[in-house]
């Protein structure tokens, strides 16, 4: 992550009155009817309907696990829904897709529901993890997106060299011009992995636009950006919406929603597998009311009138330590010093300073802490968890557990020393039965699961298998949870509350660390 000091975004936004409200007699360029999708036993999308009008800017919001990314993948051709229909009319010719696809349709190799098909209907997208072509230069990243290039046929590239060269020169010139518009004209020939996060996001947007998108789906474009980056991306999006009349569907998470609300005409809220339309003003009011509520309240009551300490971490993350009142002089249990973690070539945990050196992450947790690390999507919560558990190698740094250095130990050794970890996803064994899962965890099967004992986990619903996993979870000195509340219902949340309550009341003084996306807005938003 390359970022400067974190400053919470100011509220100076483009005036919403500049944007004409989009009335419903604008042309409908995309329509969805009754879309359904489930994974395993989990019905993620139950019945999604919407009408998307030309020139509209839509904010798509929903909790993690509500199906935003699934819906996005469906609408951009990366996933097929189980049922329902989509109509695309962004390029002037309407295309209907009904699901499930008739088998004879799939025989035609030119008529599949694929990303390139959807992109050719003028619908483009950006990814949460951006996905620029890192071994190519910036200008190549843009130039490759140009549709219908002469040189993309090898025969023409060899036998019509002059024509290809002329077209390519024109392509290049236009791409450099596009980059100059983003302030990157000078860096056109530098490699794409050498620019800041904000610049990367803007190049990705420009690339999608260059490919001819009239509808652009943006997956958390503001995640991980500092105030300056957010300004730049919002300016670009405003320009696209206002001047180029590109239709935008922006998925954003709680923290950045207010900025997007300034630009949005409509808000689609994805909840319980359905999309409801709301007005931006109403959503803004609603968010102000619920600020600071919910999960933090629950945690505070578990911790029993705690003292709170907040630590700002690089990249916009906040660590809140709730220290129970009845513990004096708590000992250090978990200490992280100068931790730097890379994924491939990308710096995930750690911060690049202006002189090019990298500062690692520092974090300390004490006995009896109930700590919450809130960070935006893309910050690296899961990477941090995996580094702490020993699932991925670390570049640099030390991890001390009760005074003992553990960064060189394999995962199971750390677990034996007293770590316990619950991942966000993919944390159960599909082909084992419930009874076997408990046997593996080393606990006896609780009474309430007895009727399920011989059923395979893959045959249970999402909520049921979550509860099995929670019940099988063994506690020790340090418990790490990655997004434990996503895809859980109220009952599941109560279950957690019970478990943690019991843990803290047992006198063992455990350390519980929750990694969460932002659960409450900052008061100055």
């Amino acid at each position: 992550m390359v970022c400067e000091t974190t400053v919470y975004p100011s509220s100076a936004a483009p005036s919403a009155s500049d944007l004409h409200p989009v009335s419903s007699d604008r042309r409908v360029i995309m329509q969805a009817r009754n879309l359904r999708k489930s994974f395993g036993g989990n019905q993620v999308l139950k019945s999604v309907d919407f009408d998307l009008h030309e020139g509209e800017v839509v904010l798509l919001r929903g909790d993690n696990g509500s199906g935003k990314t699934t819906l996005l993948n469906i609408l951009t051709g990366n996933l097929e829904p189980e049922g329902g229909g989509v109509r695309l009319d962004a390029d002037g010719s309407a295309e209907d897709f009904e699901f499930p696809r008739a088998w004879w349709r799939d025989l035609n190799p030119f008529d599949h529901f694929t990303p390139e098909r959807v992109a050719n209907e003028a619908a483009g997208r950006t990814w949460q993890d951006i996905r620029l072509f890192s071994t190519q230069t910036l200008v190549d990243n843009i130039a490759v997106a140009t549709p219908r290039q002469a040189g993309e046929s090898p025969l023409r590239a060899i036998f019509q060299r002059r024509r290809v060269r002329l077209a390519e020169d024109k392509n290049r010139a236009e791409s450099v011009k596009l980059l100059s518009g983003l302030g990157l004209g000078q860096r056109a020939d530098s490699s794409a992995d050498k620019i800041s996060l904000g610049q990367t996001k803007r190049v990705a947007i420009a690339r999608a636009v260059r490919a001819g998108a009239r509808v652009l789906f943006l997956d958390e474009p503001l995640a991980g950006l500092d105030a300056k980056g957010i300004e730049e991306v919002m300016a670009l999006l405003t320009d696209l919406a206002r001047n180029d009349k590109v239709t935008l569907v922006i998925i954003e998470h709680v923290f950045n929603i207010p900025r997007v609300l300034d630009l949005a005409h409509t808000v689609w809220t994805l909840r319980d597998g359905c999309v409801t339309n709301e007005a931006p003003e109403k959503v803004r009011d609603e968010m102000r009311e619920t600020a600071g509520d919910g999960v933090m309240h629950l945690l505070r009551s578990i911790a029993g009138a705690p003292t709170e300490q907040e630590v700002q971490l690089p990249g916009g993350a906040v660590l809140t330590r709730l220290q129970r009142g009845d513990v004096d002089n708590p000992k250090v249990v978990l200490e992280i010093k100068d931790l730097v973690v890379l994924r491939g070539n990308r710096l995930v945990i750690g911060e690049e300073a202006s002189d090019g050196s990298v500062n690692g992450l520092n974090l300390t947790l004490y006995a009896g802490d109930l700590a919450v690390l809130q960070a935006p999507n893309g910050w690296g919560k899961t990477t941090l968890l995996e580094a702490l558990c020993g699932l991925i190698p670390i570049e640099r740094g030390e991890i001390h557990f009760q005074g003992r250095s553990i960064q060189n130990l394999p995962s199971w050794e750390r677990i034996k020393l007293g770590f316990s970890v619950l991942q966000a996803r993919n944390h159960h064994f599909d082909n084992l039965t419930v009874a076997e899962t408990f046997a593996l965890a080393g606990t006896t099967i609780p009474v309430e699961f007895a009727p399920f004992a011989c059923r395979k986990l893959s045959s249970l619903s999402g909520g049921e298998s979550q509860r099995v996993v929670i019940a099988a979870y063994q506690f020790s000195m340090v418990a790490l949870y990655d997004e434990p509340f996503s895809t859980l219902d109220a009952e599941g949340t109560q279950l957690w509350a019970m478990i943690w309550n019991g843990l803290f009341l047992s006198g063992r003084q455990p350390v519980v660390l929750l990694l969460l996306p932002y659960v409450n807005l900052r008061p100055d938003c």
Partner: protein, 299 residues
């Protein structure tokens, strides 16, 4: 002197093979164990065209390349759906299938080139005439060397042009992130099919050059062992750029020469060569995944 020319001819043949295989392995990121099959298909087509149909070098080689490009569909269509390990499996299947065709499509009672006996099976095709380029007979080794070098130079030029072209850029971006490329509306399947067609065409050209030079061809030149050797050549040399495959070709040539230099008997030299490759491959995976001079790592 003749010996040096002989080596030079072989370097050229290997270079063409390496550059063509690089297109698949280094630009599409797919490991294929079927390259020798297409090499052999090229050689056999050329041999049959010159012997049975009496064609000259250019039309015969052209036919060889066309046949091979057509057969490349057997391996490029699966590439649409499968990646990584499963693609290797499919390529092994194609290799075995084509080898089986070359080995079994024979009938000793029928003449060579007839439908009952297309390949002469394990006996191979002997007495392949020296190439005839527009009336000029390439009979001396020096002339053949010129032919081989010119062909290789043409291939290098072609590959260089393709690499610099928008098509080449498309392949490189696909290598980085195919899904993102598809999201831009590009037909990646077509690009892969084209890459395979070009790769197989040039493998066939190498096969034609080989058949014309050696004068005798049998199914062993299209065997799995040969495919593995070719794959090793590019893995050791490196893929994803221009230098890597050429380094690989040179190394492939130098190893048996080096073995001869230390007086290793010919009977075990072939085995030693492969053994060295095996060791190099394992070592490279651990210490230098990009190969000696390559750019793309199978990370």
């Amino acid at each position: 002197m003749n010996y040096l020319l002989h080596l030079l001819i072989y370097i050229n043949i290997y270079a063409i093979l390496a550059l063509s295989l690089n297109l698949v392995v280094g630009y599409c990121g797919l490991l294929t164990m079927a390259h020798a099959a297409y090499f052999a298909v090229g050689g056999y087509t050329y041999a049959l065209a010159t012997q049975v149909l009496g064609w000259g070098f250019i039309p015969a080689a052209g036919l060889a390349m066309a046949v091979s490009a057509f057969l490349s569909l057997a391996i490029s269509l699966p590439a649409w759906r499968f990646r990584g390990d499963f693609f290797v499996l499919i390529s092994l299947a194609v290799q075995t299938f084509i080898f089986s065709l070359l080995y079994n499509w024979s009938d000793t009672s029928a003449p060579l080139g007839s439908w009952r006996n297309l390949t002469n099976g394990p006996f191979g095709i002997a007495g392949i005439a020296k190439p005839d380029i527009l009336g000029f007979k390439v009979s001396s080794i020096a002339a053949y060397c010129v032919l081989a070098t010119v062909s290789t130079a043409a291939c290098c030029l072609l590959f260089w042009l393709l690499k610099q072209s928008p098509w080449g850029r498309l392949l490189k971006c696909m290598r980085d992130d195919e899904l993102a490329v598809r999201g831009l509306g590009k037909n990646t399947r077509l690009a892969k099919t084209q890459a395979f067609a070009v790769a197989c065409m040039f493998a066939a050209l190498a096969g034609a050059l080989y058949a014309g030079y050696v004068g005798y061809l049998d199914p062993s030149s299209g065997s799995l062992d040969e495919s593995i050797l070719m794959l090793c050549m590019v893995l050791v040399g490196g893929v994803g750029n221009f230098r890597g495959p050429l380094v690989g070709a040179v190394v492939l040539l130098l190893i048996p020469e080096a073995l001869r230099f230390v007086h290793m008997p010919d009977t075990i030299a072939a085995n030693m060569r492969l053994m060295i490759y095996g060791l190099l491959i394992v070592g490279m995976t651990h210490f230098r995944p990009q190969g000696l001079a390559g750019e793309y790592r199978f990370k």
